[in-house]
């Protein structure tokens, strides 16, 4: 079958070089993956095309790149699935990471994020002989995160990293969860405190789900981040805007059946947080001028009793 590829080429090492697209049309085996096709291009057509690849079996994590705008492991993506009728496939390097050449991005972004979470086990006391005793369930539970192959797809498509490069990022946070949930690690609270308080930590995720969508190994980083939020709150970390935001939203909907946006903003900042209030004032003023200011006293939803019932039911179940 025919594979039609449109590949983003860019070599920042060349003076004056600009990104451009180059098209390749090749005949491939019907079972071919996009990686097979790219290798075929490199070996038979154009030896200057740069990409990383190694295992061809979705375990080494080398070949993350964007196909038609979405990060994928190309060794795991068949041409036929995305382009059954020879549709053109647009291949680009992963996002949120600097391009080294063509489809190769710098690994520094990814691994610098990993380094921020103290990425090794910190046991209190190692057994002198033998192993740590731990339940099989607790170890199997960690498999989700241990399945991470550090391919960088989640970092590529993370919408927070797009606007805030200081975010620790989905993969590193999933790895952090791997340690907070490991019964052998002794620094659970310290880890949760740090991830809770640090700028770029667990409260900076916007729950857009992109990382869950693109992860080729079902690590579901966002779900790990949400679990850490719950764990951080349970461990008593309530003095953060993230927690206050959650709590305010919860209470507002419970009370009025809908969101009190003004209160949410103030609650999140904290009522005694003068600098943040001063930040908020011009935003409120602008909103007022444009007629977008939410009402000071919130409207109440008509069927708020139904919402209250839901709350009671869920809260009852939790107890």
């Amino acid at each position: 079958m025919q594979a039609n590829l449109k590949v983003r080429r860019f070599n920042p090492g060349e003076p004056g070089a600009q990104p451009r697209f180059q098209e390749y049309s090749i005949d491939v085996h019907p079972d071919s993956t996009i990686l097979d096709a790219l290798i075929q291009v490199r070996e038979e057509v154009d030896g200057t095309l740069a990409l990383r690849c190694s295992c061809r079996a979705s375990i080494c994590g080398s070949c993350g790149m964007r196909v038609n705008g979405r990060a994928r492991l190309v060794c795991k993506t068949r041409v036929e699935h995305l382009a059954p009728n020879g549709e053109q496939l647009t291949i680009e390097p992963m996002g949120n990471q600097r391009v080294v050449k063509d489809l190769v991005v710098s690994l520094d972004t990814f691994f610098n994020q990993i380094k921020r979470i103290t990425p090794y086990m910190q046991p209190d006391k190692e057994p002198e002989h033998g192993e740590f005793i731990a339940s099989n369930e607790s170890m199997t539970n960690l498999l989700t995160a241990m399945n991470c192959i550090m391919c960088g797809c989640c970092v590529s498509d993370c919408t927070v990293l797009e606007v805030d490069p200081n975010f620790i990022g989905p993969a590193a946070l999933a790895k952090a969860w791997r340690f907070t949930e490991d019964p052998r690690d002794s620094k659970r609270n310290e880890r949760l405190n740090a991830l809770n308080n640090e700028a770029g930590g667990i409260w900076d995720c916007t729950r857009c789900m992109q990382c869950v969508e693109v992860c080729p190994k079902e690590v579901a980083p966002m779900e790990r981040i949400m679990e850490m939020r719950d764990a951080a709150i349970e461990a008593g970390n309530t003095n953060t805007s993230g927690y206050r935001h959650t709590e305010s939203m919860y209470n507002s909907v419970k009370k009025h059946g809908r969101l009190d946006e003004t209160r949410l903003a103030i609650d999140s900042a904290g009522w005694t947080n003068v600098p943040r209030m001063l930040d908020l004032a011009p935003i409120g003023f602008k909103a007022l001028l444009r007629g977008k200011m939410p009402p000071i006293l919130p409207h109440k939803a008509e069927d708020k009793q139904k919402i209250k019932d839901i709350y009671e039911k869920v809260e009852g179940e939790r107890k």
């Binding site: 090492g13 079972d31 295992c55 063509d102 046991p123 002989h129």
Partner: protein, 559 residues
């Protein structure tokens, strides 16, 4: 100029384990690797790691004997004794570093069965054991602040006064060549699977370390011992772990029969890999295969079990063949998987060249002999990775300052690479590599004979000539020039192919993975010997070396 006490080439399990030992001992240690450490091929080890844990009733002698029998009595028994007796502590240490091994109900490490052994002594993390161990060793490297030259490709070794004193390496990101001096070098650069096609091995497994050491004067030992894994996926050759059979999967022929009854009535599907691969090949050759494959059947294990204990296998079968293992048997065949042969070392990782140590798949200690047991390769990496570092730590202390000739090496190497880039259009790397690799599988396959090996011999010479006279690198750029790197890798692969074929032609018997249809019997009277291939001025020089037998006399090998 970069300077280190200890420089380790390769950042897989053997390399990282050696590096952790080097840093723990206070040496100025660095690792140099052509891919990021977590991309190393140790990742691909799925099923587990063997260890006889003596504190729970197992005996290391039992594991040693299984290993030796598996090796068809070609393993050096003194080395196997060391591996088996150190295995328990080595695995437990990995657990204490953070590996999330599967557990039993008592919260202690749990096991599964693996081939060639009656005792269940294989410790595992789902079907991602290698990956889980590699990631933990990388965590330890981060913890110890290990210096890593990431995506640096070693092109040659520096020798001074007969000893290895560093490397010349290409920084892929910049395209610049550098000299890195070191008092000792540990070669842990992995196997040479890509010399064959198909192969389960990653594209990076191009035998760089084997060839570098060989060029520096170290002999390669038992290179004819190529392991064909019994269960590789149809067409793509991707590995399906032995763990499937360890957990109870069947092998079926086209008649739906468990054909292993005929070949290994006692061990059935869990006979040694060479035995199972030959049985499959015979079934296929005699017309009881299905399009060149036989079937691996996991259906009776049930969906939940498959997804929890063998999740990665299910992922691979679904992604690459569209087969749900809980519903359908999967077509598989023997595929090139591992090279038992390698740089000759003793149990301390010492090669015949001073200053050069080796560990992992590129080394041959020899503990695997003529056939490696499944789940013994991970064990090999961590036991001998550590031991090579321990010995090199001692050695480094004895190395004084000497006049450096690294600059000269660097100049020569720059010229060599520039000459390669300046060549007129000729043969692209892939053309030579594909011809070599396909013919290596034909000539040095599951079954081989004098004719097939002579074909391979002539072919390797021809490919070498073709390479030397006409290899052509199309990419002339500096940044991430993978075209240039592939050409240099092929140069290494051709050296590996040469040593494999020379070793194969030497051995006039059948033993383990080296099965000659024209000489089907094992010949202990003449061939309880290792084959050694040295690089000579012209071609190769060969020798043999007696196998070390301690307490287990060779007997007939029946499964």
């Amino acid at each position: 100029m970069y300077e280190h006490d200890l420089l380790i080439i390769g950042a897989g399990l053997a390399g990282l384990r050696a590096a952790v030992e080097g840093t723990r001992n206070g040496l100025k240690t660095a690792v140099i690797t052509k891919v990021h450490p977590v991309r190393s091929h140790s990742n691909a080890a799925q099923g587990g790691i063997n260890a006889p844990l003596t504190d729970r009733g197992d005996e290391w002698e039992g594991h040693a004997l299984d290993t030796i029998k598996g090796s068809d009595y070609l393993a050096d028994q003194d080395a196997v004794e060391i591996m088996s007796s150190e295995a328990g502590e080595a695995v437990l240490e990995m657990e204490r570093m953070g590996v999330i091994f599967s557990r039993g109900d008592d919260g202690r490490l749990g096991t599964r069965r693996f081939g060639g052994q009656k005792v269940a002594r294989t410790y595992f993390v789902g079907a991602i054991t290698g990956s889980a161990m590699l990631h933990v060793l990388y965590e330890q490297a981060l913890k110890h602040g290990l210096q890593v030259y990431e995506e640096w490709f070693v092109t040659s070794l520096i020798k001074e006064e007969g000893a290895v004193r560093g490397v010349i390496a290409l920084d892929l990101k910049t395209g610049e060549l550098h000299a890195i001096r070191a008092k000792a070098v540990v070669m842990a650069a992995g196997g040479a699977g890509r010399v064959f096609e198909p192969s389960t091995n990653a594209l990076i497994c191009t035998g760089d370390g084997l060839a570098l050491a060989w060029r520096a004067g170290a002999p390669l030992m038992d290179m004819e011992m190529i392991q064909y894994h019994p269960t590789t996926l149809a067409r793509t050759g991707i590995l399906l772990s032995e763990a499937a059979r360890g957990e109870g999967a069947y092998l079926l022929n086209s008649e739906g029969k468990r054909f292993m009854e005929k070949y290994a009535p006692d061990y059935m599907e869990l006979a040694s890999r060479d035995v199972v691969s030959r049985a499959e090949q015979t079934e296929i050759d005699e017309g009881r295969g299905i399009d060149g494959n036989v079937l691996l059947d996991l259906r009776h294990l049930g969906r939940d079990f498959i997804e929890q204990r063998l999740g990665y296998l299910q992922e691979v079968a679904v992604e690459f063949l569209g087969i749900d293992l809980a519903e359908q048997p999967v077509p598989i065949r023997p595929g090139m998987h591992y090279i038992m042969g390698g740089i000759k070392t003793n149990a301390n990782g010492e090669t015949e060249v001073p200053g050069l140590y080796a560990a992992g798949e590129c080394a041959n200690v020899s503990v695997h002999g003529a056939n490696r047991l499944g789940a013994n390769s991970l064990l090999d990496t961590i036991v001998f990775g550590r031991r090579a570092a321990v010995k090199s730590v001692e050695y480094v202390k004895t190395v004084g300052e000497s006049g450096s000739n690294a600059e000269q090496y660097l100049k020569d190497e720059k010229k060599r690479l520039q000459d390669l880039l300046d060549r007129e259009p000729g043969h692209r790397t892939a053309v030579i590599r594909n011809e070599m690799a396909a013919n290596m599988t034909k000539g040095i396959g599951v079954y081989r004979d004098q004719n097939s090996m002579e074909m391979a011999d002539a072919m390797v010479d021809e490919m070498r000539k073709k390479y030397d006279s006409g290899i052509y690198v199309q990419d002339k750029g500096k940044t991430f020039n993978t075209d240039l790197m592939s050409a240099l890798e092929l140069d290494f692969m051709l050296d590996c192919a040469r040593s494999v074929v020379s070793g194969a032609l030497m051995r006039k018997e059948s033993r383990g993975a080296h099965f000659r249809t024209d000489m089907p019997d094992r010949d202990d009277a003449n061939w309880l010997k290792h084959t050694l291939v040295y690089k000579a001025e012209e071609g190769v020089r060969t020798e043999t070396l007696d196998v070390v037998i301690t307490q287990w006399q060779p007997v007939k090998r029946v499964y």
